[in-house]
Symmetry: C2
Subunit: 347 residues, 2 copies
DNA sequence: CCGGGGTGAGATAACGTTATCCCGAAAGGT
DNA sequence: ACCTTTCGGGATAACGTTATCTCACCCCGG
């Protein structure tokens, strides 16, 4: 326990060690004094500089241990200019988000620390979070953008912010981004259902003001048009409310639909919940824990979260390395996982 | 795009503007030069100091706008001594974690920024993350502790770290913590099932090396003992593997169990998955999205995530304000939500 | 015996803020 | 008219690091 620390906690005794001002954490100066060396030498030891003799190094290490010295990264970062930190501004930290996991992994592999915060799908909060990260001079930011107006990013980008958008692009701004191949996913789902005999297929999706929702809905319309089918009563988009989705399901059935494609995992849940007895074929967008809990298991279009996260970090690092590099947009392939619900034939 | 040679904003063409060193973000000195005032005055304006005249203030604001100046929090924090930042080290950022959400909310209300990172249930990673946050001099840390050995925290705490443990205590160390009333939850579940006629009740839980798992399992054993029942074949704990849980279920049935209490949400899923046809009454620990998706809906013991998160931030703030305050351990009540699965009578 | 590389270590100046002092001028009292 | 008070605003010193420069020293060959 406390070896030399007998004065340490109990008050106002003025020993050599205790000369530092009240309760202040020890600094390099304190270590230098304790070890009887120059400030710069302590810095050298801390940074594993080879040009310091072994005897002095030992003295310094002892002093560090005796004082429980911990370097202050704020000062370090200030002096260095970089922080070795990436920010992640995501919709909800506390929601399931496999991409964020992949982002953390990839960043860790590159010896970067990821610090994350929620934007709660609130444009103002997004701005608050991102600007806060900028003021903290994070080296880069991974952002799941919300809403349409990202003008506030312009001066930050001009000032040198490195940014990569994930899942959705930053509309109107030239920013690197990584997005799933929504169109291919919808096409695969549609093709899968037609291959199993379905001719009338409905789509129930999220609010089309959301980029991915819009993209998926458009892809669906294009698929139907390409097959020469009709769209009446088959496309339902809007905010996620159980009532809306139940009504959409009813309308689709009345219109003769025998299968449904959903726009995201939450909607899949509602659709399953709303189609208790009467069996329709279902292909959901986004894989989730729920998919293998249902009977039959849910056939889904799964995004490659691992690839998305790793690519995001790649883009961010190369952007940090060369801020003038041309903007890149990466589309990551999706995969259809057939599990049962999408293979049911029409009645 | 515009490189450093061009004027960055087409609007304001002050020759002064471009004088700043290559690509460097503008600093207070640059703003002061641009506005023709002293450095200190810029600081005053930025911090809304009332003692600055309105004319000078305007000049400064204009200069800030012209240069797109953003204060550097690293320097600010270094000078101020505090960072206005809390760290959250949780098991998995990308898992559902309502407590983290409540933590973010409560912190935001107190004008503190929460930056979160995953520990991935890895003791070494936890240490890495926490120490990193300490070196960044975060004002406080919310921690979901892993494993048994938290000795590395000792010097940090002595040096002034403010810490609060959530969901589990930090074993062997005097640290504030907020924990659900696991015992009361198990008792409530047990009482609920007996009230509905069950006499043989099984418990399937997580690995007892995990604190909460141990606490819940013990509470279950105590409940059974209190009711004068036998434990043979009724208590199954261990790592979460589908196979183990299916076997546990079989054993329990063979032992005459007509109802199951689960140790957490993941196990609830596996139990539901494994008890397809034959109906047993189920009470799950932890509420989740799944609970209302099943038929019948899952009766659960729900933790008060909101209260846990808010309490954690309260404790942390008061610890920051008075580092010598006695250690507090808060137990937050749980609530049994009857939804159907726990009200089925024995066959 | 002396000059020329290395080489280990110290003094000092940044990095971008805020806090402490201090001063000049305007205002008010006698 | 002069002295005191207020008050806006500027110089300058921290905060805790790292980078640059310098220097003292030692080991050799000439």
């Amino acid at each position: 326990m406390a070896k030399n620390g007998d004065h340490e906690n109990d008050g106002h005794m003025h020993g050599e060690v205790n000369k530092r001002r009240k309760n202040r954490r020890p600094t390099m100066v304190d270590v230098a004094r304790e070890a009887g060396v120059a400030l710069r030498t302590v810095s050298r030891v801390v940074n594993d500089d080879a040009t310091v003799g072994s005897e002095l190094a030992k003295r310094v290490h002892d002093a560090i241990a005796a004082l429980d010295y911990r370097p202050d990264e704020r000062a370090r970062h200030l002096r260095l200019g970089v922080t070795g930190t990436l920010g992640a501004a995501v919709r909800q930290l506390s929601h399931v988000n496999p991409v964020l996991r992949a982002v953390e992994r990839a960043a860790r592999a590159a010896d970067l620390m990821v610090l994350a915060a929620s934007t709660e799908d609130d444009e103002r909060l997004e701005r608050r979070v991102v600007e806060s990260m900028c003021r903290r001079r994070f080296d880069g930011i991974v952002l799941e953008p919300i809403g349409a107006d990202h003008g506030y990013l312009l001066p930050e980008l001009a000032a040198g912010l490195s940014l990569v958008a994930v899942d959705r692009p930053v509309l109107g701004l030239e920013v690197d981004c990584v997005i799933s191949d929504n169109m291919a996913g919808i096409q695969a789902a549609y093709g899968h259902l037609t291959a199993h005999g379905h001719r009338r297929i409905a789509y129930i999706g999220d609010d089309e003001r959301i980029f991915t929702a819009q993209e998926r809905a458009s892809a669906f319309r294009a698929s139907v048009a390409g097959a020469g089918g009709g769209l009446d009563g088959m496309v339902h988009t809007g905010p996620i409310e159980p009532g809306r989705i139940a009504r959409a399901l009813t309308t689709a059935r009345a219109g003769g639909a025998t299968a449904v494609i959903t726009g995201n995992a939450t909607i899949s849940v509602e659709v399953v919940r709303g189609s208790d007895d009467r069996r329709m074929a279902i292909v959901g967008f986004d894989d989730s824990e729920l998919a293998t809990l249902l009977r039959p298991d849910l056939t889904v279009v799964a995004q490659d979260d691992q690839a998305i996260g790793a690519t995001a970090i790649d883009l961010l690092r190369s952007r940090i390395a060369d801020h003038g590099r041309p903007v890149t947009r990466v589309t990551v392939p999706v995969e259809l996982l057939a599990r049962g619900s999408g293979e049911q034939p029409p009645p």
